[in-house]
Point group: C2
Chain length 186, copies 2
């Protein structure tokens, strides 16, 4: 009779995804503290019991969100590198563009990324991922000058998160072009 989740068509994959997206949205709106099991469940239109059916505990939820993010970033980098001319700085250019793109995406999970700093486990996973990625491109992107460019991209991303999407300085396109140009210098 009542339209509870009992008689709603059961689509677990869909609910699972709704939970992940709810977690990301909450993190972006209210920061890390906004991610409570209850709030995530509410937003996804499920009860707490329902959430715990999909995820063993809160940490498992967060880990899943993190996986979700890494996957997206991985795809983004691969796609951008395929479009690049290759050679010296190929990965760094993809990294820069990805960083700038990432800021506009709804599902980037910026606040979530910040949570890495809080959680040592996530920190280690991130480090493992980025190190592996860098090692793959050591032949083209190990130059210190390229490292500086990637650091600047990180700084820009951080500034944008910090300033609610409005970093100071020159317009994003100009800055991005500037960084890309730097990857082509000796």
């Amino acid at each position: 009779m009542s339209t509870t989740a009992y008689n709603r068509p059961k689509q677990p994959e869909q609910v699972r995804r709704a939970l992940l997206e709810a977690a990301v949205a909450l993190a972006e709106e209210q920061g890390l503290g906004g991610i409570t099991v209850q709030a995530v469940a509410d937003r996804a239109g499920v009860t707490k019991g329902g959430l715990f059916h999909h995820f063993a505990n809160k940490q498992a939820l967060i880990d899943a969100v993190f996986d979700f993010m890494l996957e997206q970033m991985e795809e983004s980098l691969d796609r951008l590198m395929a479009q690049d001319e290759g050679g010296h700085g190929a990965f760094t250019r993809a990294y820069v563009i990805s960083t700038f793109e990432c800021c506009d995406m709804a599902l980037s999970g910026q606040a979530l990324t910040i949570s890495m700093v809080t959680d040592p486990a996530l920190r280690r996973r991130w480090r493992g991922w980025i190190d592996a990625r860098l090692a793959r491109h050591a032949d083209t992107d190990s130059a210190p000058s390229l490292h500086v460019v990637r650091l600047a991209a990180d700084g820009y991303w951080f500034a944008r998160v910090l300033h609610d999407g409005d970093p100071g300085g020159e317009p994003p396109e100009a800055l991005q072009a500037r960084l890309i140009a730097l990857t082509r210098e000796t």
Copy 2:
């Protein structure tokens, strides 16, 4: 008889400072989650009631810690700028050195800084502070190329926090020298 805070000489300023330092220390050791009212009070040798006598609520405590940090950073920048040769990029050089120094300081409150991202109010205050500071040095440090250098410094700082004090790439001294050199290019 017992050395409670009752018979201890009353030095509210000192106790207040002890509370601030306790909060910073806890944040560095255990991350943001480590800052509980009880823990801060314990570490400062005061009870929870005593803490709430000095600060209206937890947020007031955190705000005060933030002020404390900004003051230190302000002093650091002033000191470094006094040592600089002046002219183009003077502020940016001080900013870079301060960023690198900051990482080694015990009272830098890295985890606290991260909490800015979580708290929108702190975020705005930070932005106000940095904007004012930049405006003061607009004549020497408004060049886009200097902006890139400052972003790289931010990126380095963030990487260091993320990787538990061990960022990848070349040694810190070399990177710092590289960034300083960039402030002197056309």
